[in-house]
């Protein structure tokens, strides 16, 4: 538009200036003339009118041609060049500039194209480097997260505000209260750890570490025992995270000691009651016996009474011992660091080490598959080798080694033919210190067998096939621990977000915080209809959380019993039927968890006015307020893509090339809305919308913003 006007103005000036000068000159010339000259001139013009007309035509013709030439050689190509240069700046692909204009402009186009090519090369180069760097970083982070997730302890890393930057599966399990249906105490990236352990305790611990540190203690940490909200007693170690001299956060390592504490307590209880009861009974017996002995002339009746006391107390003592063993049998187990090892591996190890024994011919029989034993590798293997060496001195032929499973006990048999070992010799072997390469170790085979709660005996047979049998417990816990590991692998969305270390100050006002630094909860409601004021109710809530540009795995999805029948259309659209809602909790049961899920977050929805109307109407009734900021992806989309016709969820998703999994399910819609928000945020930033205030203003300006909520 403007360039056309400029062109027309230019042409007019070009036409008017020479024409008006000719007209003015002619007019001045005309006024100078006397009447005779004028008559003469008239006659002259009259005679040559054809020439004058022709020269006028030629004059305007030339002017017109000049104008057209300028238009196509300079005006239009220049305009196009300006546009092309603008596109060059933002175009992702190579853009060649061509022009049909003047020679100089063609040269300019070539220069611009060359620059464009160089810019593109440069940009690709930089992008590649950035990508490379990102990949490297990502890889390092992945190594770290897998490492952390495989660790047996629960680990949580937080920034100074207590926001969780990284956690592993164990931490999640430890903090998660399976009975509670709310998000109050659940851990997740960007959520506050201070809900699990109050900030005062953490601060105190960090101060203590600071104190230790100032006293010159290196690698200082604090340890405490704290009951978690999930009713787990945890031993907690807190370690500060520093960046240079500045403390930027802390690491929490937690260990579930509920069972340990319980065990200690039980053991203590057992010892106490054992002591007290034994003492009382023995006191009764001793007093009675001493009385009988010291007072020989005692009456028969009295003696019978004492005898009964002794009998009764002795029985009581016996019964009590049995009772104690039955009640506390789990607490008698020795705390020897057993490892579970597969039968085949154990035999392989024994076979391998047995080669160090000279003159030993050992044959190892492959055990059944899937046999596991629980042993303390070092002492057990050394002991078996020691026994093999002893047997090799008497056995005439090959010694064989077998591992068999019978009735949940494992039998390790050392078998040999010919060469007698009598029971006394055998007992001596067991009682002597085990030696390894002629070095005596501080334990005997008996000690080791006892520590393993195993049994060992000698079988001598008449057909000269003898054996030493070691009976071990089968490792029953193997399957459980293997299963546990698999869960960890399956559930490794265990995110980290180290960017949280550089997060904005929490106390900063919502309005001026960078959009990118905010925690968003993007949600969607499915309802029985469109009018909450006419009694329409929420039937489903879905929500996802965005922290630092990432959608977290910590999703929210609940069905809600609306306490009224659904109409057919609702069921068709949402796929939710009356039957599905029948046993679901009502809104007042669901809302606390949703409210907790949304805490500290900006709420986002597509056409938020609709969803917020439902929530606002319920606020009073349920005693919750959703007073955090609300953003609407519909308004945001409309504010940055002004020329687009439609801002429906489907249209925007298509524009950004997003696929919707589960359209018209609350979680499906919430998910795609979140993805849309992530696409919109950079576009908004380009347009200078970087904080909430600006986002609000942009939303208000759009056509759609007339709906008030």
């Amino acid at each position: 538009m403007t360039y056309k006007r400029r062109f027309i103005t230019g042409i007019l000036i070009i036409l008017v200036v020479p024409l008006s000068s000719v007209i003015l000159g002619t007019l001045g010339f005309w006024l100078q003339l006397g009447p005779d000259d004028k008559t003469f001139l008239f006659t002259l013009i009259d005679h040559n009118r054809i020439y004058i007309f022709l020269s006028f035509l030629i004059f305007t013709g030339i002017l017109g041609y000049i104008a057209k030439w300028m238009l196509f050689q300079y005006f239009i190509p220049l305009q196009k060049l300006a546009e092309d240069a603008g596109i060059l700046k933002s175009a992702e692909r190579l853009y060649t500039i061509e022009t049909k204009g003047a020679k100089e402009l063609k040269q300019l186009a070539v220069i611009l194209s060359r620059h464009a090519y160089e810019i593109k090369e440069l940009r690709e180069n930089i992008n590649e480097k950035i990508r490379q760097a990102k990949n490297d970083l990502e890889e390092e982070k992945n190594i770290l997260t897998s490492l952390v997730s495989e660790l047996n302890d629960a680990i949580i890393i937080c920034n100074n505000d207590g926001k969780i930057v990284l956690f592993n599966h164990h931490a999640y399990q430890l903090c998660d209260d399976p009975d509670a249906d709310d998000f109050q105490n659940r851990i997740g990236i960007g959520r506050s750890f201070f809900k699990i352990i109050p900030s005062e305790i953490i601060r105190h611990a960090l101060e203590e570490i600071d104190h230790k540190f100032r006293q010159g203690q290196q690698n200082a940490y604090t340890q405490l025992v704290y009951p978690l909200p999930s009713r787990v007693s945890a031993r907690i170690r807190i370690i500060p995270v520093s960046k240079g001299k500045e403390k930027i956060g802390f690491i929490v390592i937690m260990h579930d000691i509920t069972a340990e504490l319980d065990k200690d307590l039980k053991r203590h209880e057992m010892v106490e009651s054992l002591i007290d009861t034994t003492r009382s009974s023995v006191a009764g017996i001793r007093a009675a016996i001493e009385s009988i002995i010291s007072y020989n002339e005692m009456q028969e009746e009295q003696r019978v009474r004492f005898n009964n006391v002794i009998l009764e107390e002795a029985k009581r003592l016996g019964a009590f011992v049995n009772e104690t063993i039955a009640n506390y049998k789990d607490y008698f187990k020795l705390n020897w660091p057993m490892e579970q090892i597969e039968g085949q591996s154990l035999l392989n190890l024994l076979h391998l080490y047995s080669k160090t024994i000279s003159d030993l011919k050992l044959e190892v029989k492959d055990p059944e598959n899937g046999i596991w034993v629980s042993v303390e590798n070092f002492s057990f293997i050394i002991t078996v080798l020691y026994l093999l060496r002893q047997i090799s001195t008497i056995a005439q032929n090959t010694i064989s080694l077998e591992l068999n499973n019978e009735n949940n006990f494992m039998y390790l048999d050392i078998l040999w033919k010919d060469g007698i070992l009598n029971h006394d010799q055998f007992n001596q072997i067991l009682a002597n210190p085990v030696d390894l390469n002629n070095v005596e170790l501080p334990f005997s085979a008996n000690d080791v067998i006892q520590r393993h709660n195993a049994r060992i005996w000698l079988n001598l047979s008449e057909n000269n096939l003898h054996s030493i049998r070691i009976m071990l417990r089968a490792a029953d816990a193997v399957t459980e621990s293997v299963k546990k590991k698999q869960i960890i692998y399956g559930a490794r969305p265990e995110f980290y977000d180290f960017d949280l270390f550089t997060s904005d100050n929490l106390d900063e006002e919502w309005e001026t915080r960078r959009l990118a630094s905010l925690r968003f909860v993007v949600f969607d409601l499915e309802t029985t209809g469109l009018n909450p004021s006419d009694g329409d109710e929420i039937i489903s809530i879905g929500a996802v959380t965005i922290v630092n540009g990432k959608i977290l795995s910590d999703r929210y999805e609940r069905l809600v019993n609306p306490r009224r029948k659904l109409n057919k259309v609702t069921t068709e659209i949402t796929g939710i039927s009356d039957a599905m809602l029948q046993d679901q909790p009502a809104l007042d049961k669901v809302m606390p968890s949703f409210h907790a899920y949304c805490e500290d977050a900006v709420m986002v929805a597509h056409n938020a006015a609709f969803d917020m109307r439902f929530l606002k109407l319920k606020e009073k009734q349920l005693g919750f307020r959703f007073d955090q900021p609300v953003l609407d992806t519909l308004l945001l989309s409309a504010s940055v893509h002004v020329t687009q016709e439609s801002h429906s969820l489907d249209a925007i998703a298509e524009r950004f090339g997003l696929t919707i999994n589960g359209r018209h399910t609350a979680l499906g819609d919430a998910q795609v809305t979140a993805e849309i928000l992530l696409k919109l945020l950079p576009v908004m930033q380009e347009k200078g919308i970087t904080n909430l205030q600006q986002a609000y203003q942009a939303s208000k300006k759009t056509y759609y913003a007339r709906i008030k909520y």
Partner: protein, 122 residues
């Protein structure tokens, strides 16, 4: 004849204690709970109490403290008998005001000797 009150809820030990004390020439009465003991003491006015720690409802420490809190009963000697032999329990007994603390099982001879000693009969 000096009077001894035995406070214990375990009949099997009471049989021996009663016999033992009677054989040694004391007049013996039995209380089977702390409550019963506290009721009996002012009327019976024993010279010595053999007081078990583990009594139902009101433990021996409380009974001991209660007696020591009353001036008119201050001459009564108290031997605490207990199966609790841990240092903390012995300290607790002394704090309650017991004259002696005997851990079960005990030698009857030694117990008798201790009773004699406290009653200044040796």
């Amino acid at each position: 004849m000096k009077k001894i009150l035995i406070v214990d809820d375990e009949p099997n030990i009471v049989i021996s204690l009663e016999f033992l004390m009677a054989q040694n020439g004391y007049y013996v009465r039995i209380a089977r709970s702390g409550e019963e003991a506290l009721e009996l003491v002012p009327a019976f006015m024993p010279d010595l109490i053999l007081l078990d720690v583990m009594l139902p409802f009101r433990n021996g420490f409380e009974v001991c403290q209660n007696i020591r809190a009353r001036k008119e009963l201050s001459d009564i000697k108290i031997i605490m008998l207990t199966a609790k032999g841990r240092e903390a329990d012995i300290e607790r007994g002394k704090a309650a005001g017991a004259d002696s603390y005997v851990i079960k099982p005990f030698s009857t001879k030694e117990l008798v000797a201790k009773v004699r000693e406290l009653l200044n009969e040796e």
